[in-house]
Every structure is written in structure tokens, then in C-alpha cells.
């Protein structure tokens, strides 16, 4: 569906919910009954295109991708009518999140308008007046807890022996992670998604690994199964595994 919009920069969006709201609006979708298959594939297209997206939000986009895939899987399951118990639409929670986010997004734009109106006024800033002032060079207008924290942290940084952080910049590429998952699947018939992720210390690797899973799903090298909504994802070899 990417053809509809050409390429849109993920930077435009404040997060996955913002992107979903955009897709819903663009395609005039009914928020009560979101066509989950369509929106999932659109969403994944964006995430895939945005491999070089702002890394700090990448994890949040990936998490949403996983949620969408769970909902999609859940929608495909036959509904077991269990007595009179009403079965909740798997999309309800997502819909509520989207609506709640939309309320605050609207409020944010109201704030922006007030900010614009207030902009031309500048408050009078009085010169320091304090007869007991011991140090005239730096006066804090108003001390907040944050100032206390910040100051202490700043002092500690200068006081303690500079610790040399061994930050090995982990260069992980998509291809490497595709190879890594392939290797694991040679040895095991099934992989637990959460077990695999728990081994990684950096969120960057988690993100790249997830993108690798998406890529391998697309090319049918793997299959992903989930028994219940919000359950772990189980990865196994797909029809084109090893090709």
C-alpha cells in the first residue's frame, strides 16, 4: 500500500500511535472496526522503510508491529463461543489506546496555539535583590527537586575517578541477524522469541533482530506462531528456509 503515499518519513510521526492515526485518516478507516490485516501490512512497510529511523523510537515501533501481528493472528482464530461470555474484539484495546492518544494530541495542538499567543509577551525579570546573598554571581530563581538531583549528579561526575565505559559500539546489521536466526533454526526446530530477545543487552540489537524476523517472515524463511494473544511468539522454519 506504500504506493498510495509514496515514501513518508517516519520522522514525521511522534510514535507508532501517531503513524496508525495517520494511516486511519488517510485511508478513511473506521476506527471501530480497523481492518487489521491492511493496517498491519501498511505499518510494517513503514517500519521496514525506516530502518534508518530515529533509533530512540525504533523499539516502540517494533513493539507496535508485534502487537498488530498478535491481533491479526488472534482475529484469524476461530471464536469459541464459551457460554454467555462475551468475547472481546481483539482490536478493542488498540482502539482505546488510539482514541486516548488522539485526545492528548489535540490538546497538544491547543497548547501550541496558546504558546503562539503568549509568545510576544516577555516577563519582567527583576535584578537580583537579596541583602544576604553570599555569592552574587549565580542566583537561582527558584529551586526545584530537579536542580538538587542535577547538581548532585554533576558534582559526582567531576569528583569520582573518571570511569572509562567500555562501550563497544555494537555494529549489528540486518544480514548478520538473519544469519544468526538461521543458524539457531538449524540447531533447533523452534525458537522462543522472548528467550532470544532476553539474551541481548542492547535494545539496538533487539530492534535489528526483530527487523530480521520481519524480513525472514516476508521471504517465508520462517514461520511465527502464537497460541494466545500476548503469548510468546514461536519461530520455526518456513517453506523457503535455507533457500
Amino acid at each position: 500500500m506504500i504506493t498510495k503515499s509514496h515514501r513518508i518519513d517516519l520522522d514525521m510521526f511522534e510514535g507508532p500511535l501517531d503513524l496508525l492515526l495517520f494511516l486511519i485518516k488517510r485511508d478513511e478507516l473506521n476506527i471501530y472496526a480497523i481492518p487489521i490485516a491492511q493496517i498491519t501490512s501498511d505499518f510494517l512497510e513503514y517500519v521496514k522503510l525506516a530502518r534508518e529511523l530515529k533509533l530512540h523510537s525504533a523499539g516502540d515501533f517494533v513493539l507496535m508491529a508485534a502487537t498488530l501481528m498478535k491481533i491479526k493472528a488472534r482475529m484469524l482464530l476461530p471464536i469459541e463461543a464459551d457460554g454467555d461470555e462475551e468475547i472481546e474484539d481483539p482490536r478493542t484495546e488498540l482502539m482505546n489506546m488510539l482514541l486516548e492518544y488522539k485526545r492528548y494530541k489535540e490538546a497538544a495542538s491547543a497548547f501550541e496555539n496558546i504558546e503562539r499567543e503568549e509568545r510576544p509577551h516577555y516577563y519582567h525579570i527583576p535584578s537580583a535583590w537579596n541583602p544576604q546573598q553570599e555569592d552574587q554571581t549565580a542566583i537561582l530563581e527558584d529551586v526545584k527537586l530537579y536542580d538538587i538531583m542535577f547538581t548532585f549528579q554533576y558534582l559526582l561526575k567531576n569528583y569520582e575517578e573518571p570511569v572509562t565505559h567500555a562501550v563497544a559500539v555494537e555494529e549489528v546489521t540486518l544480514t548478520e541477524q538473519v544469519g544468526f536466526i538461521g543458524g539457531l533454526l538449524q540447531a533447533n526446530t523452534r525458537l522462543s522469541f522472548s528467550d532470544m530477545l532476553s539474551k541481548f543487552e542492547s535494545r539496538l540489537i533487539v530492534v535489528v533482530t526483530f527487523l530480521a524476523i520481519l524480513e525472514m517472515l516476508r521471504t517465508r524463511q520462517i514461520k511465527v506462531k502464537q497460541s494466545k494473544l500476548f503469548d510468546d511468539l514461536l519461530i520455526s522454519r518456513g517453506g523457503k528456509f535455507g533457500t
Partner: protein, 184 residues
């Protein structure tokens, strides 16, 4: 005390006060002296003096107090005091975070992130740096997470008297009915 003398005192206080001059603070400054005229009345008098004598500033009611602000028409010049661009505008992310805290306060970082769907560390940091938010105590629950609130500076920044002056948050039902309307 005569009104003229009172006007001068209030003016002196407005020039010297680092935060909005409230009624309580005004009374405290007067000490033992008995004053019948309410602060608001003195302010009104001063305000009209400033207007008739073409002063470049006015008195603004903000955070339940009074402060001097420059008149809007001098923005072009005044902004030169601060940087090339004048006041820094808040980013969309910061505005969203601020909106959530305003309506939900006191609120934890987790609650903010649950609504936004993205990590909000750097917006929180910006807002704390600019003193628009402050940390105020901890949640009672098991995690004892830090709680965030808006500050007096927040009210000043948006020219509000209380948080209650903020535009009302739209109800979910309204959003839904509008969206349904769009569809038809």
C-alpha cells in the same frame, strides 16, 4: 494609607518580584499596616496609568498573581535580548508530554509513555530543564515511581491563572462521533 502611596508600593513590588505577586504575598509585604483597598483595585489603577502614559509594559494576571510583561508590539526588539530567534518553541513531543501531565497530574513516566506509545525521556528532560514540569513526590503503589506535575513557570509560559483554565480535553465520544461523521 492613600491610594497613591499604595500604587507606588505595588509598583515597587511588581518591579522587584521574581514570581507573580499574589494577594497573600502583598499582605505579607505590608506587614502590620492596615490596608482596605484590595490588590486587584490597585492593579486596575496602575494598569490604566500605564495605558494612558504609553508605557511599554502592562500588568498580566498569571498564576493567581500579577507580573509585569512587555507589550506584544515590542516583540521584534525584545526578542533580540535572548537569541536570534527569541523564545524557543516546544517540540511536538514536548507539547504532547506536557499536555498529558497537565490533565493527568500527578502522573508517572510510565503512564505518560503508555498514552504516547513512545519513550518520553528526552521530552521530560527538556521540560524539567525549562522548569515547566517538576518532580513532586512518589506514587503510593509498589513501584514508588516518581510523580510529575506542572509548575508555576508552566502557568506563566501559557499565561494561565490555574491549570483549570486550560481548554477542556475532548471526550472520546466526541472524537468518535466526529470520525463517524467524516466517514459518511
Amino acid at each position: 494609607m492613600e491610594l497613591n502611596e499604595l500604587k507606588q508600593i505595588v509598583e515597587a513590588l511588581l518591579v522587584a518580584t521574581p514570581e507573580p505577586l499574589t494577594d497573600a504575598r502583598f499582605k505579607a509585604c505590608l506587614g502590620e499596616q492596615n490596608v482596605e483597598v484590595p490588590l486587584q483595585e490597585v492593579i486596575n489603577e496602575l494598569q490604566s496609568d500605564y495605558e494612558s502614559s504609553d508605557r511599554a509594559f502592562i500588568i498580566k494576571k498569571v498564576a493567581n498573581g500579577f507580573q509585569l510583561v512587555t507589550r506584544a508590539e515590542f516583540e521584534t526588539y525584545v526578542k533580540g535580548l535572548f537569541s536570534k530567534t527569541g523564545k524557543l518553541r516546544l517540540s511536538q513531543a514536548a507539547l504532547e508530554t506536557l499536555a498529558i501531565v497537565s490533565y493527568r497530574q500527578p502522573v508517572t513516566r510510565n503512564a505518560i509513555e503508555a498514552i504516547r506509545g513512545v519513550s518520553s525521556d528526552s521530552s521530560l528532560r527538556t521540560l524539567l530543564d525549562r522548569k515547566l514540569l517538576e518532580i513532586r513526590g512518589r506514587e503510593d503503589g509498589p513501584g514508588r515511581a516518581l510523580l510529575y506535575r506542572t509548575s508555576t513557570e508552566f502557568l506563566q509560559y501559557f499565561g494561565l491563572n490555574t491549570v483549570k483554565d486550560l481548554p477542556k480535553l475532548r471526550e472520546v465520544e466526541d472524537i468518535l462521533s466526529e470520525d463517524q461523521g467524516e466517514l459518511v
